[in-house]
Symmetry: C2
Subunit: 268 residues, 2 copies
């Protein structure tokens, strides 16, 4: 069963929500796919220095303009979507991802559990746990950017049945692309890291994002990887059932071989 | 504080315990070090097809000839040792590692928790848990070969205070060297993978071991890596205190940022 899955590597401009969304969707429409993953905060840009700043562009999920626009796009193109959005919920802000089905229906949202650096000054840590979403052809676990460094995250999502980890990101450190290879083999899952490109400079702070969005397979192959400086869509055909086979050898099954009692310290 | 740590990449011959130990120690004595890690089953070779087979070479730990020889070596060279040995305990066999201080004292042993492939036919799974050993200059967590694929193992050892993960191995798959880079950055620890080279052929089964022993740093650098086909000693100077700093950014500490309640499924 072939499922076409991909990333959309964009270059958002800080605060320019409508332009960012439209240019990302124009780019996304250049390739046919069953599932597309967009970067973290793809609609707003990244470098918010205050909650006032963020309040101007954060939206409710699902009843905000970006989610609604993505639902329309998903329905028109019969493509499921996972996309990073700045979420407003009452007076709280979350670094969230929205999940939309290929019928254009709202499926759910994830709020980033592990906030990076100054994100802590403007966003609340996620409070919806780690979730796997059934998108019909494929079960997708969602994590956002810095979640990658905590091996527990991809592990939990995989144990909960994810075929694929959708990983919207705004990476500034050089490590995640390598670590995601480990996430793939240690869990025998596919991963899609949808990163952005470009730089943002503000309040004496400059961040450059590293591109190299990638898709990895349960046997630790890089199925495709983007450049570090171009807007790109990468799509590959995968068979999600590959990720249901947790056997590394005839006698080794990744799940059956675990020794949970020896790991007790991990949840204390 | 500089500590010289290294691997000894050997090429044991199946069943030739005395020759294997002496050639490994000759090789090891070519470089000065504070800690040396030897491969999995470095004294016996790997491909045991029956317990009868294994019974001929497995030894008690610490009261067996290989441990005693290593203690003498450690004392003479003032070097701590972690080495993979086939252990006999009554009628049970374990794929173990012995840990010896630079004074030549027996410190402890680890029994491999996650057995690989046909190891399951001859060895019992480890029953001593995951342990960190204080070797004076450095705290060392020990895991063996296939343990690498379970991110829980390095995580538990790191949470228990390891500066460095000593990883005796007999690797036949191509993944571990990359995954160990992830282990380093996700836990901010040093790792030493001491792999072997050469092939073993027996009972219609042939295994070739992949060499490329390596040492990695808490910031995901490969400090040194061996060839895939030569006997080699690799030694680097490290400061263990680097691994005590779990900060990734000023606002991100790997331990404080964990969300253990969200990981509950890992220990069920």
């Amino acid at each position: 069963m072939d499922v076409k899955v991909g990333f959309v590597q964009t270059s958002p401009m800080l605060g320019e929500v409508e332009k960012n969304v439209e240019s990302a969707l124009l780019l996304a429409s250049s390739k046919e796919a069953d599932l597309l993953v967009f970067p973290e905060l793809f609609n707003t840009g990244y470098l918010f220095l205050s909650k006032d700043d963020l309040a101007k562009v954060a939206e409710p999920i699902p009843n905000g303009p970006t989610t609604e626009r993505l639902m329309k796009f998903a329905s028109e193109h019969s493509v499921s979507v996972v996309a990073g959005i700045a979420e407003r919920d009452g007076r709280a802000f979350y670094n969230s991802a929205v999940i939309i089905s290929s019928d254009g229906d709202y499926v759910g949202k994830y709020r980033k559990l592990h906030l990076f650096s100054t994100e802590k000054l403007v966003f609340e840590p996620g409070n919806l746990g780690l979730q796997v979403f059934d998108l019909g052809k494929i079960r997708v676990g969602v994590m956002i950017c810095f979640d990658w460094i905590f091996p527990e995250v991809a592990r939990v999502l995989s144990l909960k049945g994810a075929h694929l980890i959708a990983h919207p990101a705004n990476l500034v450190l050089p490590y995640a692309q390598t670590a995601m290879l480990a996430r793939s083999i240690e869990n025998r899952v596919f991963t899609i890291t949808a990163n952005r490109i470009g730089c943002e400079e503000r309040g004496g702070k400059k961040l450059c994002f590293t591109g190299k969005s990638q898709i990895t397979s349960p046997d630790m192959k890089v199925l495709t990887r983007a450049s570090e400086d171009l807007m790109e869509v990468g799509v590959v055909s995968i068979d999600p059932r590959e990720a249901e086979n947790k056997n590394i050898t005839e006698l080794n099954n990744l799940w059956e071989d675990r020794r949970p009692k020896e790991y007790y310290i991990l949840t204390r």
